[in-house]
């Protein structure tokens, strides 16, 4: 507590006025607050809305009397210290022999129970809420001392006007200990939680762990789905996906559920795209057949032969030559662009990006067969080379393609980019999803303006320290790149799922105009206050 006069030590030594009995109004210990209304009142516990007089901030006070089962509860600091957007911050606890009062931040909004009663939710909205709950549970479970909420239910989920989701009521949360993975049922497990939403192990069959919250989340999703009456909604893929995920979450045997919340999230995110993948896979097969047929026909000509059917297709598109038409060496010098993704060739950059965005949405790393780039080496005037979702590993043969201005190797298997040292004209480099470990050759590129390191998780981030000016940089990956950007000049920065809660580094970047950030980080970024750059929030 910042203000010395309100230290918890003071609280403990404070004598209570015994005349007041159970009533807590007029109480000395609460003089910094004004009670505004009573949210709920039971024999042994009460819940009040209060206002902190000094700041006008609203807080919630839960009062537990000695007859209440939670009167004696001492919540470990690990639970009290939890503070991130999505949970109400703990403020203070006042306790003596007459009652225990826990004060937490008040979250304005509606409970999910009320929101679902007021308006029928669509399957999409349910999916959105489920994903946001996953994010919150993930943050709780992934702490060094994992916090198990143990009471995930519609009454404990709050949605505010902006659609942000919060998990409240940590009354019966506990810390999962290492040894908890053992199957020994614990004798000290007290039966807490809410019938229907509580996992079977919460009734004392075995110790509770992260999987208990996964169980409750599953029941909650099912509960929301059961409220959908619109038949068309029940036919949506989101509805079916949610049903399947909910079922696996709420298996009676914890061993048969998703084992951690990130698996639930993956399932909710990826399965959504499986159908598209199937269609794409079929298309890809079709194109391989067409390309192979083209190769057979191509063999009749005497001129240039190609190693890779997709590259031949891409080159033929650029030259406007149909399958079977002869291509000579000098023709190859006319080729300026080569675009291919997942064994399909494209004439324009727009078509290429359209196909890539579909592949991105599919989310699965299905790759094409293209691996050898020898065919490109002969096209000495290529300026733009974009090869996405292919099996390319070695790009060293490109050393002669000195006119290259744009090189995109999205979701390939490239691990070394040393060759870029020989490509001085490069302006744009996209390494999205490649296992590149050394990005230092990029420093030597004088004209580099666009750099995409999305999903490149293995490089040494300090390379970005005092990097030349960039118009665009994407560091949506697992590295700690954000720590090395201070002082750099970047006009547009994409963060995505970034591994930090402290966004102060943004203030140290020069010329920054726009930041693309994940919606989850909105709270943390808003803490920076007024900024000179704008922030675009995305999922």
């Amino acid at each position: 507590m910042k203000r010395g006069r309100r230290s918890s030590a003071d609280r403990r030594s404070m004598k209570t006025s015994s005349e007041t009995g159970n009533a807590i109004r007029n109480d000395e210990t609460l003089k910094y607050y004004e009670m505004l209304e009573c949210f709920s009142c039971r024999k042994t516990r009460e819940c009040y809305l209060m206002r902190e007089k000094e700041t006008d901030r609203l807080v919630v006070a839960k009062v537990f009397y000695p007859e209440d089962e939670l009167f004696l509860l001492r919540q470990p600091d690990e639970i009290r210290k939890i503070s991130f957007p999505g949970v109400p911050a703990f403020i203070e606890e006042i306790r003596d022999e007459k009652r225990r009062i826990e004060i937490r931040e008040f979250i304005p909004g509606k409970t999910l129970e009320r929101a679902a009663a007021e308006k029928e939710l669509t399957a999409k909205e349910i999916l959105d809420i489920s994903l946001k709950l996953c994010d919150i549970l993930e943050k709780l479970h992934d702490r060094p001392a994992p916090v198990i909420h143990r009471d995930v239910k519609p009454q404990n989920v709050v949605i505010n006007e902006e659609g942000e989701v919060f998990l409240i009521d940590f009354d019966i949360a506990r810390i999962a200990k290492e040894e908890d993975r053992g199957e020994e049922p614990s004798t000290d497990t007290v039966v807490f939680g809410t019938q229907m939403f509580a996992a079977p192990e919460q009734y004392g069959f075995s110790r509770t762990d992260a999987r208990s919250d996964i169980y409750s989340l599953g029941v909650l999703i099912r509960w929301l789905l059961d409220r959908v009456t619109n038949e068309a909604q029940k036919e949506t893929k989101e509805y079916r996906l949610l049903s399947a995920v909910a079922k696996k979450c709420s298996e009676l045997d914890p061993g048969r559920r998703y084992q951690c919340i990130s698996r639930v999230k993956d399932a909710l995110l990826e399965n959504r795209k499986k159908r598209i993948t199937k269609v794409l896979a079929a298309l890809a097969v079709l194109f391989v057949i067409i390309a192979a047929a083209g190769l057979l026909l191509g063999k009749k000509t005497e001129a240039v032969t190609f190693e890779e059917p997709v590259l031949e297709e891409a080159i033929r598109l650029q030259l406007g030559k149909t399958n079977g038409e002869e291509i000579r060496e000098e023709d190859l010098l006319k080729v300026e662009n080569i675009f291919a993704a997942c064994d399909r060739a494209f004439l324009t950059e727009e078509e290429y990006y359209e196909a890539v965005s579909v592949l991105d949405a599919a989310g699965e790393n299905e790759k094409g067969k293209l691996s050898k780039l020898g065919d490109i080496a002969k096209c000495r005037n290529v300026k733009k080379l974009c090869l996405a979702y292919e099996a390319v590993t070695d790009i060293s043969v490109l050393s002669g393609n000195t006119k290259l201005e744009k090189l995109e190797l999205k979701k390939d298997n490239v691990n070394s980019i040393d060759v870029v040292r020989d490509l001085p004209e490069l302006r744009s480099v996209g390494l999205c999803g490649d296992p590149v470990t050394d990005i230092s050759p990029l420093r030597e590129l004088e004209h580099l303006l666009y750099l995409d390191l999305c999903g490149v998780d293995g490089y040494e981030p300090s390379v970005l320290n005092s990097f030349p000016h960039l118009e665009y940089l994407d560091i949506n990956n697992r590295t700690l790149s954000c720590r090395y950007l201070e002082g750099n000049s970047i006009r547009r920065l994409r963060l995505g799922y970034i591994n930090t809660n402290d966004f102060g580094f943004l203030l140290g970047i020069r010329d920054l105009e726009t930041v693309e950030a994940n919606f989850q980080n909105a709270g943390a970024i808003r803490k920076l206050g007024e900024t000179t750059f704008s922030v675009e929030y995305k999922y």
Binding site: A23, I24, R25, N26, E34, M35, L36, E37, C38, F39, C41, E46, Y48, L49, R51, D56, R57, L58, P108
Partner: protein
């Protein structure tokens, strides 16, 4: 409000107990389950009491434009605003409790000191100024006095 009046809860309950077929009862009394909107409730109340919204707003101490927005439904009231309206209507404590319930707000609760002051004032039939003075005198936030609390709608 539509011409067809929404039946009172007690009427609905009587009909339910008399009905022999639940499905038919549910179908026939469909409109009975629609919870009336708050602005419809206060507008209906004006008609019942032969009052104008203008007069009620005037006696509630709510800013005029704001008050009309509450009556036409473009704004939703905070809990304090509902209490101010109850005072504007000259309601007793039971009626105030009903109005709070219709707005989906917590009732006045005698264990909360501020609510206690309000209950006392309303019971005595005080006007808005007297009640605000009483709150102020007791060191409680006046009605509509906390911006954060007003934001809760």
């Amino acid at each position: 409000m539509s011409q067809k009046k929404t039946p009172h809860t007690s009427t609905l309950l009587r009909r339910l107990f008399k009905a022999s077929n639940l499905d038919r009862f549910l179908a026939e009394n469909k409109e009975g389950f629609d919870v009336p909107k708050f602005h419809e409730v206060i507008s209906a109340m004006c008609r019942e009491r032969n009052e104008t919204a203008e007069a009620v707003i005037g006696r509630s101490g709510i800013e005029r434009t704001y008050g009309h927005q509450l009556f036409n439904g473009t704004r939703k009231p905070s809990r304090d605003k509902v209490i101010q309206l109850a005072i504007g209507f000259g309601m007793n404590t039971e009626e105030t409790a009903e109005l709070l319930k219709a707005a989906g707000k917590s009732p006045l609760y005698p264990r909360v000191e501020r609510d206690c002051i309000l209950l006392f004032g309303i019971n005595k039939g005080y006007g808005i100024m007297e009640i605000q003075e009483l709150l102020h005198e007791k060191g409680a936030t006046i009605l509509g006095g906390s911006p954060k609390y007003e934001d809760l709608i």
